[in-house]
Symmetry: C2
Subunit: 232 residues, 2 copies
């Protein structure tokens, strides 16, 4: 194991063990370097990871302290439906329901701009049961190639991932009660709970696509992980 990582692990255990309680000043970099028998940049690299984890606060001249509120960030991942289901050993299938050029509703226009857009509605199945309803808008100004794609054999999600890069993405997670349309497509009764993910992506401040992914509540959950010590 790399030395900076050993140091990181050791400092981490001093914090989580309560040996260094919240608010406790941490020895200077120079002192730690002496203690661990290495140079200051190596200690600095170890500490940087702890700062990113939100466990340590550092200020010039004032020194480093254990953060008072270790309000750590959570990390999650939203994989492609197909890969997610395959990873579980389930059988995946896909059905395009609708595809049309149309004018998006107000909130989507605010994101994609006034240009013409493509709407695609599609279903993803796990073991023959509806698992996700994908309701997507694609800006034809930003992604003109989409006009030539029927999306009958490949889902918009998957196609876009290979077709176009993005520089920024935002996700909103929420619970909702299924509207009549959503319920019908997912095979639920109207008003049943669904888990909704709305994803918006940009390429340099230009809206690319907006998608609403709805899942039956009893078949979907998201598990987060701790941000491991991401080395910086």
């Amino acid at each position: 194991m790399a030395k900076y990582k050993q140091i990181q692990t050791e400092l981490l255990s001093r914090i989580t063990s309560g040996d260094w309680p919240p608010g406790q000043p941490i020895p200077h970099e120079a002192r730690l370097a002496e203690e661990f028998g290495c140079t200051r940049p190596t200690v600095g690299r170890a500490l940087r990871g702890l700062v990113d984890m939100g466990l340590v606060e550092r200020r010039r001249r004032a020194g480093s302290r254990v953060a008072r509120r270790a309000n750590r960030d959570l990390v999650m991942n939203i994989p492609l439906v197909r890969e997610e289901i395959a990873a579980r050993g389930g059988s995946y299938s896909y059905l395009r329901l609708e595809r049309e050029r149309a004018t998006p509703p107000q909130d989507v226009r605010a994101h994609l701009g006034g240009a013409p857009a493509l709407r695609v509605l599609a279903l993803h199945f796990e073991n023959g049961q509806p698992y996700q309803l994908e309701d997507r808008w694609i800006s034809l100004a930003a992604v003109p190639q989409a006009d030539g794609e029927s999306f009958e054999n490949i889902s918009p999600s998957e196609w876009l991932l290979d077709a176009i890069p993005f520089s920024r993405a935002e996700h909103v997670l929420r619970a909702a009660e299924a509207s009549g349309d959503v319920a019908r497509h997912l095979g639920l009764r109207a008003g049943a709970a669904v888990f909704v993910i709305e994803r918006s992506t940009w390429l340099d401040e230009r809206g690319i696509t907006r998608v609403r992914m709805s899942h039956p509540a009893d078949r979907f959950s998201i598990v987060t992980r701790d941000p491991g010590v991401w080395q910086v």
Copy 2:
């Protein structure tokens, strides 16, 4: 701006602009160091951030490439309810409903161990309306101080944050339909959609606490951010 960060920004723009498409090999560190007029460790630090963002893949001997699937991680934060509501300018209030020593259900026992546990049920209000139902189990073996706390004036979440550190946390996010009890406490009809967060924490493999936080679907959502924060 630090040089490693300038380099990172430049490389990032080459990727997001499509100049370096997915799968494209990236020049060697030595070559980039030459191009940017710096040393190899500096280039290495810039690239490390891109690897953490999932945009670049590196293998010894094989070199670096733009990741084929920029399946980036998402970062979110679950703040204290009180602070979350205060940040919105709402008025916060708190009510402890129940507190008892009891034997946890099977799944919680698997996490906390067989030792005695404390159960606390509490409500968090925003502007007088129920916002979160907190249903918590605390291991008295791991947190004996909890036995002396009534939780009438401070929520378990808040108390625990200051009382005891943790080394690992796991969260499960899901949608659900409110059971009779949950619905009654939250002022909803039975079967209404709720957003549920289940958080489990450990200190060195020893279970500390498990909490289920239920929110009315129409008043709760989570917004994620890009993890670009820690480097770019």
